[in-house]
Amino acid sequence: MRVVLQDEAFDVAAEVDAVAREAGVEAGAVAMFLGLVRGGDGLRALTLEHYPRMTLARLSAIAEEVSARYDLLGCTIIHRVGTLGVGAPIVLVLAAARHRGASLEAVETMIDWLKTRSPFWKREDYDDGRQVWVEARAADDAAAARWDL
């Protein structure tokens, strides 16, 4: 299991190799999700704020819970924070398993939980100087209902 919070970009190939190595010869499937800063409408950058004392513990809890639920052989979560330009990678999630179903479902679950159960907030910075906090989507929100205030 590998959980990383960092400002810098990550090396996708190195991470895929690492999770496959962690998984060993029993692994038949590696699934990945890579989130990028989506451009358009004059977006200049995305700023990711987080809750430093809490974030890494949450990421670890997600990786552990998902690894157990899907019997993963390898699992990686890397989330960036700070200001990222259009097209920049934000988050990388990898799951290695014996079979494809588990790896794909594990990745989907991890990225859902990263969006709903991890203390990150995105702010959009526009060319014209506007700064707009991204609102949680209703769909994401519903999934997080268990800790609604």
Partner: protein, 88 residues
């Protein structure tokens, strides 16, 4: 005299609205919860009161664990308030 204060943190749009990222707050009751603390802080900060009045969804964590309105708050705790998360 016993220290009954807690640390309060604000994040993201909520911090921007309040213009404040952390403060101390002295509990007034041994039965404090996330909800009672938020109510008391809303009396202290116009911007927080206005945000709640305008229907802003506010979430919380107590000692770095996601919390509900009923989660107890005790002296020495770290209580964070923030909008719904948007990571990933």
């Amino acid at each position: 005299m016993k220290d009954v204060s807690i640390t309060v943190l604000y994040f993201a749009s909520l911090r921007d609205r309040l213009g404040l990222d952390r403060e101390r707050y002295a509990l007034t009751s041994p039965d404090a919860t996330v909800a009672t603390v938020l109510d008391a802080l809303a009396e202290r900060h116009d911007a927080l009161r206005e945000a709640i009045g305008a229907g802003a969804v506010i979430r919380a964590a107590v000692n770095q664990q996601f919390a509900t309105p009923a989660t107890p708050v005790a002296a020495g705790d770290e209580v964070a308030f923030f909008p719904p998360v948007t990571g990933g």
